[in-house]
Structures are given as C-alpha cells and as structure tokens.
C-alpha cells in the first residue's frame, strides 16, 4: 500500500551529460546549438511576445531563448529569458531580458544520456500533483474515469454500461474499470480478463479508496500508468511520457498535448503518434471533445487545441555509443552503491561526458573503421563478433574529466569496452616514458639532453629467454641519431639501447607515476611497448604530460543527487605533481616534433592548425594500432585491432591516425586553441645540430633547443669558441662601466 504514497516506485537513476555553457565568442554552429535545443525539447516559436520557458525564436542575427529553470546540484539555475546576438557563426553578445543586461555566460541544462533500469526496464520520472497541469488531469479523467472524484473505487454506472456492451459482443470487450481499479490491477494483479480477477480488483479498489484520499490515488496512477515502449524500456508515468513524447517537463504541457497523452493510455503502442499520427490525432480530438462535453474546457480552448498540430520530440538517436560510458560509470558507482539503489532510487548522476564530443567520437571511429575495411578488404569479416574493433577515449588533461568514450564498434554486438577493460601491447606509444626517464634530472643531472645523440646500430641484449635483438620498423640501422630524431622516427633500436642504459625499472617507474596501472613486466622489450596496457591508462599518462606533469584523477562524475535533490556525492578536482614541469615540456616538445616531422605528420594533412603533440604505436606484427595525441586542452587515444589478435598489415599512421585526426578536427573546428607553455625552468639555447654543441653567432648551423635550466651543453661549436673569447672581453668592459654608473647613481 505504500506504493500509493509514491515511495516504493522503482525509479531508475538517470545520467546526464555535462551542461553546455554559452558565452560571447562561442561558435554556435560548432557546438550545434540548434541540435542541443532540439534534444532538450525546446520548441521554436514564431512570436517573441509572451515567450514561454522551453521556447525559442530564431531570427537572422539573433536567437531569443526562454531558458528553463533547472536544479543543478552545484547551483539551481533560474529561468532566464535571453537574447543571443549572432555575428556570423559566433555568439556576439548575450542579453538578459527584460532589462537587456549583458551577461558573460548562460547554461543550458544537462542532456539526459541514459538510465540504470531494474529488471523490468521501467523508465519513470516521478511527479507530484502540483507538477501536473490541471488540463492533464482533466484529460485523463475525461477519457478514463469521468466520475473519479465521486465514486467509491468502482463505478457501478460504468460497469453496467460495460456489461451491456459485453453481452452484445458475446465476449469481454470493455472492463469498465475506474482509475483505482486500473491501479490495483497494475500493482497487484495479473492482466487476465476473468470474472474472479475482476471481483478481486473491485474489492481491492474499494479498500484502497477507504484508506487513501483521491489525490494520493490519482498521483499514484499518474506515476504508474504505462505509456508504451521506447526501444527495450517501458515508459511509465506522465512525467516520463512527457519527456519521451514532447521532450519537456510535464508542467510545460499544452492542453492539446495533455489530451494526446490521455488519448494513448488505452493502447499506448497501437495509438503511438510516432507509429500512426493520424490515428493518434483522431483519438486526441475525441478526448478534447469529451473534455468539452464534460465542461472541463470551453469552446475556445477546444478550438485552439483541436487545431494544434502534433508537435512531437525528435526521436533521440540511439545512444548505444554512450552505453560504454554508462557501463564504466556504473562500475565506478558500484564501488559505493548497491545495484538495487542505482536501479530503483531515482538518483540523478551528473557526469562529465560531453555529448558533442561523444557523438563525434562515435562517428569518427565507426566511419574510420568502415573506410579501412573498404580500402583493405582483407580486414573485413562477415561475422560482426569477429569484426575489426576499435575504441576512442578523450580526456580533458588538466582535470582528468572523461569527455568521450567509445568502447567498440557496436554496443549491441559486444559490450566489452576495449578502452577501459582491454589491455593490449602498446607498441611505440610507450616510448615517451623512456625519454622522460632519460630527460628528467636524477642525482643532479639528466641522463640525456635534447642536444645529445643516440646509437642506432645493431643491438643485442641478453635476457633469461635468450638474446633479444630489436629491429627498426624498416629493418635498417641509422647509426648516430639525435634524441629528437629517434623519437620522431620512432626508432626501436636506439630507444631500446637508451632504456637498457637507463635501467628498465626507471622507465617503468615513469609509466607508473604518469598513471599506468596495468602490470609492467621489467623486461628490455618494455621500452618498445611489449606490455599490455589499457587505452584508459595511456590516456591518463599522456594527460599527465599534457598538463605539465600534474596527474589528474580520472573523473566521470561531477555530482550525484538523490530523488529529493540532496547531494550524495560531489567529485572535486584533484591534482598531483608526478613529473617536473620542465621534463613534461621537453617531452611535449619532442612529441610536437613527431606530429610536425615524424611518424605522425599526417595528422596535419587535412588542414588542422595549432599545437598537437602525438605518438603513433604499432605493436608486433601490426596486431594493435595505437594513436595517442594531445592539444593543450584535449587528450585522445585511438586503438584498433581484432579481439582475437591478428595482423592488420598496416601501420598506425594509416589505421588509427585518421580516426584521431577526424575527431580532433571536428571538435575543434580545425583550429586548435592555446599553446604548450614553456615553464620557467626550461631555457632556450642555440646549438649546432651536427655536434650538439652550444652555438654562438659565428657557428655556421644553429638551431634553438630546449633545456632544463643549467643543463645546456657547455662546449661550443668550433667556430664559436673564438667568438666567445672576444665576447667575454666586451662583456667585461660593459660590466665595469655599468658598475661604475650604478655607484655614481
């Protein structure tokens, strides 16, 4: 009986995306403002006069939006009527009405991205009678139970009418049930149509009416009533139905929309306005007529509502791609909450997912793999469970917020998340850890600087399994190569030699500090990426580099609130320095070189502009293709391969790179913002690229290079030595003069 009080409905927890922030200067086309408004159920109006919440008017050069109030846990956002002044593709200014005050930013409510259902997969959004407009109650009562307010639970007049109809038909066609009876049936009884079951229903309805008042029964009914299926989920209650059919809160329903909801209660799937709009419209108008004949609306309202077209919410595209994220979130939440709590307590989970990035990530991965299969038919498989797979994960490096996650090609085919649950050999994307270990200062000095050279000649390392002889991708040796070149060309031999000289433990330690949690066997081949690591680990480690050596906690949740709106959990940003900013900058600069001149140079091919640091990775026999890259504001990892490892026969720059490039190009509009900032402990010194010596003005070849303060080479290029002696003498004279001047002043 408690269920009538609304306490024990199973209400799934809902997950929301991060809110969209609108501000002057924002490219509203890039963020797809119209699409967001559409998905949030905002309706386009023609007139700006009396613009209601949830409506907008889009005119050339300006958009007026009456933003809905929403209860975001960190701050309840009030209802706001704003005008966005547009200039080209950007928002030029935001003015808040009625005064026209200019505001810096406004928030659009977070978009729902999914829910955690119980065993019956019931989707429900609880409402109270105060939330429900009178015309919705009137519409439901008009068509389902017009004497609800006066009968004691059963309606004898209606039962008599139903009996006559059934006798005429020779079978049970009409039930004559009141709302109370329908409610009792849904809660406690089976749907069979027998006399015994009808009698039980009647008795229980009378008991319920004796114990509960009409408002409690009506509230329970409005929250319980079935409104059809959306995919595999059952829509229950007017709150959820309003979201599904009209994309807005129940309080914003118009009389015509209320009549439509009441109309489809009789047969939600058969009368679905999506399936048969004409039939639904006809039945809606019948409800309106009943409302008029029962004196619930006047003739003017009837006319307006009858002429209103069906304005349904766009069918939300399948969020299959976001379901990997929902699964990850669920795994995170299950550490603190019972599964039953998640599926029945109606929690509201505000996540970090960026709906736009997620969509672009899914499309980039899907299209990228399909194009590869077309270009290399040998990669295509008939059985989707054996198909070439991939994943894409994107983080915001400074905060660790997970912005997009696509764990595979199709969630329907495989729910295994290759970004967070799989561990695969990383190939060369592991190499930067070797170079970090070599560049950072240990015992007062770095092992190498960017002026040094490595040996890329044949190498043999003795291991317990036998002699290990690494080779380069092209099976050639390169002799003496600069540190930068070794990484830019992803040379295996020189990198393996460097790691061996450093000690593999030191390399593993760097990977650990940066955020790799997967097991790392301490073998020489670790330097070339032989260890199995998850793409999430890789994303975290590169995020640490991108944020200058500060490792952020990976975040999937911003806030978690219960059904009453109390905050249960608020995840705060956390930062931990695990690498000095100078070393982080040096490796970033090297990875920029990889993107500009090295194995990842194709990343700039389709017109992306701005700073990119990236690394390709192709595992042994080309069974795993990796691409990890970051900009000052975004780090993304792409992995491609078969679940049962097989050779793809192509390098990462052909397989994974184009997917990363399309993703980043689309989310940034092709213009990457910001810069990789040089920290104060890194100095720029000119060197002779041939010798690595410090270059003065007289040196024939000079190149600017970065060094941790105090680690630049002392020795001079041959032509520079003479100049230095001359310069020293001149500087001494100048110093003497200024010293004299200072004393005089």
């Amino acid at each position: 009986m408690k269920r009538f009080a609304g306490r024990s409905f199973r209400v799934p927890s809902r997950v929301f995306s991060a809110p969209t922030i609108l501000y002057p200067g924002l490219d509203y086309e890039l963020v797809d403002l119209r699409g967001i408004l559409d998905r949030l159920g905002y309706r386009e109006a023609v007139e700006t006069r009396d613009l209601q919440p949830g409506r907008f008017v889009w005119k050339p050069g300006r958009v007026r939006i009456h933003l809905r109030a929403f209860a975001h846990p960190s701050r309840p956002e009030p209802e706001r009527d704003v005008v966005l002044r547009l200039a080209g593709r950007t928002i030029d200014a935001i003015l808040e009405l009625p005064r026209g005050r200019e505001v810096g930013a406004v928030l659009l409510e977070p978009e729902p991205i999914g829910a955690y259902y119980g065993p019956n997969r019931e989707q429900r959004d609880l409402v109270t009678l105060d939330d429900v407009p009178d015309h919705l109650v009137d519409a439901v009562l008009a068509v389902e139970d017009q004497r609800f307010q006066t009968h004691p639970g059963i309606d004898l007049k209606r039962i008599a009418g139903a009996m006559i109809a059934n006798l005429r038909a020779g079978s049970i066609r009409e039930g004559g049930s009141t709302l109370t009876q329908q409610l009792v049936k849904n809660f406690f009884l089976t749907p069979e149509r027998t006399i015994k079951r009808k009698l039980q229903e009647a008795v229980m309805a009378l008991l319920v009416e004796l114990r509960y008042d009409k408002d409690a029964i009506l509230t329970a009914y409005l929250n319980e009533i079935y409104f059809g299926q959306r995919g595999s989920t059952a829509i229950h209650g007017v709150g959820e139905a309003t979201h599904v059919y009209f994309g807005k809160p129940v309080r914003e329903l118009s009389p015509a929309e209320s009549a439509l909801l009441a109309a489809i209660i009789q047969s939600p799937n058969g009368l679905s306005p999506y399936r048969d709009p004409e039939r639904a419209l006809k039945r809606r108008n019948l409800v309106l007529k009943l409302m008029y004949s029962q004196g619930r609306i006047d003739s003017q309202d009837l006319e307006i509502a009858r002429n209103a077209p069906l304005q349904l919410a766009a069918v939300t595209p399948d969020l299959g791609d976001a379901r990997y994220f929902l699964d990850l979130l669920r795994r995170h939440l299950s550490e603190s909450y019972d599964s039953d709590v998640l599926t029945s307590e109606g929690l509201r989970i505000y996540s970090t997912l960026d709906r736009r990035l997620q969509r672009v990530a899914a499309a980039s991965l899907q299209d990228g793999i399909e194009q590869l299969e077309k270009r290399y038919p040998r990669l295509a498989r008939k059985d989707p469970t054996e198909a070439l797979q991939g994943c894409l994960i994107a983080l915001r490096p400074q905060t660790g917020e997970l912005l997009a996650l696509v764990g595979g090609r199709s969630y329907a085919v495989s729910q295994f998340d290759r970004c967070t649950q799989a561990r695969r050999p990383t190939g060369s994307v592991f190499k930067p850890f070797v170079y970090i270990a070599a560049l950072e200062v240990q015992n007062g000095q770095p092992f190498v600087t960017l002026a040094d050279f490595l040996d890329d000649s044949p190498l043999e390392i003795s291991t317990p399994q036998g002699m290990w002889r690494p080779e380069n991708y092209d099976h050639k040796w390169n002799g003496r190569v600069s540190v930068r070149t070794a990484l830019e060309r992803s040379l295996n031999v020189s990198t393996a030699r460097l790691a061996n000289d450093l000690g593999i433990r030191r390399v593993a330690d760097v990977a650990r500090r940066l955020g790799v949690t997967s097991p790392l066997p301490l073998v020489p081949s670790l330097a070339l990426g032989s260890a199995d690591v998850s793409p999430l680990d890789m994303a975290r480690a590169y995020a640490t580099i991108a944020s200058g050596g500060i490792r952020p906690d990976t975040q999937t949740i911003e806030d978690l609130v219960n059904v009453r709106g109390d905050t249960l959990e608020r995840r705060r940003l956390r930062f931990e320095r695990v690498l000095d900013p100078g070393s982080a900058f040096l490796i970033t600069s090297m990875l920029e070189g990889v993107a500009k001149r090295g194995t990842a140079s194709r990343v700039y091919q389709t017109g992306i502009r701005g700073p990119i640091a990236a690394k390709t990775g192709t595992s042994d026999r080309e069974r795993d293709l990796w691409f990890v890259g970051f900009t000052p504001e975004l780090v993304a990892v792409v992995w491609l391969g078969f679940d049962e490892p097989q050779s793809l026969g192509i390098p990462s720059s052909v397989g994974a790179l184009p997917i990363w490039r399309r993703f980043v190009k689309e989310v940034t509009g092709g213009q990457i913002r910001g810069e990789f900032r040089r920290p104060s402990d890194v100095e720029i010194v000119e060197i002779d690229p041939e010798t690595g010596a410090r270059a003065l003005a007289g040196c024939p070849r000079r190149k600017k290079e970065y060094f941790l303060a105090g680690t630049a080479p002392d020795r001079l290029c041959p032509a520079g030595s003479e100049l230095r002696r001359e310069g020293d003498r001149r500087r001494e004279v100048e110093r003497g003069f200024f010293e004299w001047l200072r004393r005089q002043l």
Partner: protein, 179 residues
C-alpha cells in the same frame, strides 16, 4: 668551399655606432627615471583587471571566476570555479581563484595542489612578477601555517606582504581582494 668570412660584409659606420647609441640612451633613461620603491609597487593581481584579456573562451571563464569570488557560499564558489575551469581549462586565474577559495575555506592541502596547476599555466614572466608571486607565496604560506609549518609559512607570508602590502599585510587573502 669558400670560407664563410669571405662573404661576410663589414658593417656600415651607422651599424657600428647604433648599438652604442642605444646603450647610451638606455643608461640615461635609467638614470633619470624615478626609482620605484616598494611602497609605490603595483598592487597584487586582481582578477577583474584581466577580465577582458584573452579570447572569448578565456573571457567567459574569467567572468565565471569573478562570479565565484563574489559568492558568500564556499560550495557555490568552488563549483563556479570548476565551471570556469571547464569553460577554459587553461585559464590560470580560474585555478588561482579555486586555490584561494580552498585555502580560505580550510582545504589547504588541496589548495596547494591546485596552485601547482595554476603555476603551470601562468606565463613565466607573469609568474615572476610580484603582483602574481605574492598570491602564490601568501597562499602557500597560509597552507603551511595550517599544516603546522609555522616558520616556513611565516616566511612566505612575510614575502607576500612585502610584495603586496595592501593585500597580504594581514596575512590573509579574501575573495574580494582577489576579485
């Protein structure tokens, strides 16, 4: 191969004299310019001074920071700073403000961690300026005091007070002072 010196031209007379003339002008300029005392030093950084700096994303983020610093409620201020960071994750002022709020409301350890991120994002020359450095010293000093390192904390607070006496002489940075 010809020696590089064979093709090098001898600088003109003007070319040779110009550096000396510039050096002389610099010396005279330094001599006549008033010497800036610490009392006349510019005040510490205030976020509103940089509200209009940067691209639209930065400006929107900084406005959210100003909003955060105007709030009386710590929870709201922190959320708003985090929102500013999400709007522009490379905005150093957003991290500085978040760190200040964290230190102010007792979460000193987290404040110091956030300061490290802010430090990362400031341009080195900006970071070296006393206007900004004062806040870093002061906030770290306060955090050290809270953590029980009185001597180290006092030393940093003294340095902050010397660099920005108006703000830091009382050893405290209010949201309004940073705003």
């Amino acid at each position: 191969m010809a020696a590089p010196s064979a093709v090098r031209r001898r600088p003109s007379r003007v070319g040779r004299l110009l550096p000396h003339a510039l050096a002389a002008a610099l010396v005279v300029g330094c001599a006549v310019a008033p010497v800036r005392t610490s009392r006349e030093a510019p005040g510490a950084l205030r976020i509103r001074d940089v509200a209009d700096a940067g691209d639209p994303q930065r400006r929107a983020s900084t406005r959210l920071v100003l909003d955060a610093l105007a709030a009386a409620d710590a929870q709201y201020a922190i959320s708003q700073c985090e929102r500013a960071i999400r709007t522009d994750p490379t905005n150093p002022y957003a991290y500085l403000a978040l760190a200040a709020v964290q230190v102010q409301w007792g979460d000193a350890q987290r404040g110091v961690e956030t300061l490290a991120q802010a430090e990362q994002l400031f341009a080195p020359e900006e970071l070296a300026s006393p206007r900004v450095a004062a806040h870093f010293d002061g906030l770290r000093g306060r955090a050290l005091l809270r953590g029980g390192s009185a001597a180290a904390g006092e030393a940093l607070l003294t340095r902050a007070a010397r660099a920005a006496p108006v703000v830091w002489s009382d050893g405290w940075l209010s949201s309004e002072e940073l705003r």
